[in-house]
């Protein structure tokens, strides 16, 4: 009887462990919006919008013990900044969300201005858990190792 109970407990634990997804390994990819494509140079320009919370001091009138007092409060106001970044396709890989490699010609055919792509943050294929949350139509770009800067003459 005891061994039966132990077996049942072990089986339940195994089932629970299998139904719970594992923690994704590595950094998540980031979404980027295509701004310009230069097929000749194998370059893509991305437009990124970054939000920064900027503290602002605001004065407010409050009533303390029946008297009006002006207090200064700090409010965090979201401010948007636009940045253009360059992505070199020549030394990169492109995959679909199921991990299949995309030929470079297919990448150029599918990439249009204002298209959204996912870009690997660390140069490795993003974890399955991150790929699963993307639309199957999204292209995942995996940058190659950075090319060393050219020495000045």
């Amino acid at each position: 009887m005891k061994s039966l109970l132990t077996l049942a407990t072990l089986l339940t634990a195994t089932v629970v462990a299998h139904t719970q997804p594992a923690a994704p390994f590595g950094p998540p990819p980031t979404f980027k919006v295509v701004n310009k494509i230069d097929k000749m140079k194998s370059e893509i320009f991305f437009l990124e919008t970054v939000v920064k919370l900027v503290p602002q001091n605001v004065q407010r009138v409050v009533i303390v013990n029946g008297k009006q007092e002006t207090i200064t409060e700090t409010r965090f106001v979201p401010v948007m900044e636009h940045q253009i970044s360059l992505f070199n396709v020549a030394n990169s890989r492109a995959i679909t969300t199921d991990g299949k490699q995309l030929p470079i010609e297919e990448v150029w055919n599918r990439l249009k201005k204002d298209a959204v792509v996912a870009v690997s943050a660390d140069g490795n294929t993003p974890a399955q858990a991150f790929l699963r949350v993307l639309n199957p139509e999204v292209i995942v770009l995996i940058p190659g190792p950075p090319t060393p800067a050219k020495k000045l003459p």
């Binding site: 923690a23 950094p27 919006v33 919008t49 970054v50 948007m80 858990a129 949350v133």
Partner: protein, 152 residues
């Protein structure tokens, strides 16, 4: 007169098309669930940030014909996981089709290690980003941080 008005209308329309398309706004970021406490309305989400670190390395240099080992430093980017408590009871959680989920449904679907998208500007992400997500993905739109009283 009519012809002039038509020309003006056409010119205005051409001007509008020459303007750059509006930016889709900030992209949502991804995080995974560490833990949820539905009775408090909180969820601990794990986000990844980059940290710059100065790493020492030794380089052999020749000074007046004598080899010497010199310690130099280079900047290395490291990825660090950060746990953030989100007050989901005060936030909105939607699906990529824009439908808001009831909080009970949110707790049901937010299992440990589930990946979610988090709005980048405390507003609903633009349609372009929502279309790029799987239909099952949850999108959390957190409320703005609370006011901090000015230190006296």
């Amino acid at each position: 007169m009519r012809r002039m008005a038509l020309t003006l209308t056409l010119m205005t329309a051409a001007g509008a098309s020459a303007q750059p398309a509006p930016s889709p706004g900030p992209a949502p970021s991804f995080a995974y669930v560490r833990k949820t406490t539905p009775d408090k309305g909180h969820a601990i989400l794990v986000q990844t940030t980059t940290v710059k670190e100065m790493v020492p390395y030794v380089e052999r240099v020749f000074l007046n014909g004598v080899a010497r080992d010199v310690t130099k430093y280079k900047t290395v980017l490291r990825f660090v996981e950060v746990d953030t408590i989100y007050d989901l009871a005060a936030s909105r959680v939607i699906t990529p089709d824009g439908k808001q989920l009831a909080i009970d449904e949110v707790w049901k679907r937010l299992q440990k290690n589930t990946v979610v998208a988090i709005s980048g500007n405390f507003e609903t992400p633009s349609a372009a980003f929502l279309r790029s997500l799987n239909a099952e993905t949850l999108v959390a739109i957190p409320a703005l941080p609370k006011l901090e009283p000015q230190p006296k």
